[in-house]
């Protein structure tokens, strides 16, 4: 049924395709980042309660979204690798991990920098912050586990199992602000005000969505860059790699 997809999943074909896509994706990412920064820092109004500090939201929320999105990509790719034994999927999981870890780290740091002026504390052990910290440890655990196993096939399998067990943490992060009373403010996007409109100002929403899109494209770009290196390494004994590593 999926026969038409097979050429795209061949590491060799994908390596060349990614090489062609990366410059375009990088350009688009830069453009969206520029628009997003302009919207976040200059167009969006200060918050009526939080003042200018609310501008941290435009990087904090996309970083936090990405930390969970990348984890689902990692776990999904790991599952596909386990089930269909697809090498490209295994490599995708490995390539996604450091990027996801960096977004998780960024979500924690920007959250801390927002929490200090708004809550009076850099850190509180509430459900949202704690589950996000656990997400960082899941990423680091995945990276350390794969680094400790020499055989790439076994490393991929072990990593995928760890990643799939860790998926249970994702809904905990997402719903933590509803399940438990916490200092962390609830979601801005899905919140609806008394007249049934989104509770967030449209200019804030635009800035947030543009930044989220920019972060997503950034992830895809860096993922493809990492995947290409991963493909070269795992396919190093093939003749087509030999042709492409000539200086």
């Amino acid at each position: 049924m999926f026969d038409f997809l097979h050429p795209y999943a061949s590491p060799r074909y994908f390596y060349d395709l990614a090489g062609k896509l990366i410059p375009w994706l990088a350009g688009l990412t830069a453009l969206l980042l520029a628009v997003g920064l302009y919207q976040s820092l200059l167009v969006a109004p200060p918050d009526y309660q939080q003042g200018e500090s609310v501008r941290i939201m435009f990087i904090h929320v996309p970083a936090a979204w990405m930390s969970m999105f990348v984890y689902m990509v990692l776990a999904g790719a790991g599952a596909v690798g386990l089930i269909w034994n697809l090498k490209l999927a295994e490599m995708t999981a490995t390539a996604a991990a450091p990027i996801g870890a960096s977004f998780t780290f960024l979500a924690l740091v920007t959250g801390s920098l927002w929490g200090k002026p708004m809550w009076g504390a850099w850190w509180v052990w509430d459900a949202r912050l704690t589950s996000e910290l656990i997400l960082l440890f899941l990423y680091l655990g995945f990276i350390a586990l794969q680094a400790s196993i020499d055989d790439p096939k076994r490393a991929a399998r072990a990593g995928a199992v760890l990643a799939l067990v860790g998926v249970v943490n994702i809904p905990v992060i997402h719903f933590s602000v509803q399940w438990w009373n916490t200092l962390h403010q609830p979601a801005s996007i899905s919140a609806i005000n008394k007249i049934g409109a989104p509770a967030i100002h449209p200019s804030m929403l635009v800035a947030l969505l543009v930044m989220a899109l920019a972060f997503t494209l950034f992830f895809v770009t860096v993922l493809l860059m990492r995947l290409r290196a991963e493909i070269l390494y795992r396919e190093r004994y093939t003749s087509w790699v030999g042709e492409r590593i000539q200086p």
Binding site: P46, G51, S53, A63, S102, L106, L113, P117, M225, A229
Partner: protein
């Protein structure tokens, strides 16, 4: 709005600019790390290639 007002961020300059600075740093490091990995792999494989060639001679 003046430039100094913009940079003052209503008194939250330290927090806002540190957050944006951290973001810039994380994005740049991601790109650099990906590039470094690519270069390291290429160098390793080129050495491997040379080794194989000299053995077959």
């Amino acid at each position: 709005m003046s430039l100094s007002q913009f940079f003052a961020m209503g008194g939250y300059a330290l927090y806002v600019w540190t957050a944006y600075g951290a973001t810039a740093l994380v994005l740049v490091l991601n790109v650099l790390a990906a590039r470094r990995r690519d270069k390291a792999v290429r160098r390793e494989l080129q050495n491997l290639d040379r080794l194989n060639l000299s053995e077959s001679e």
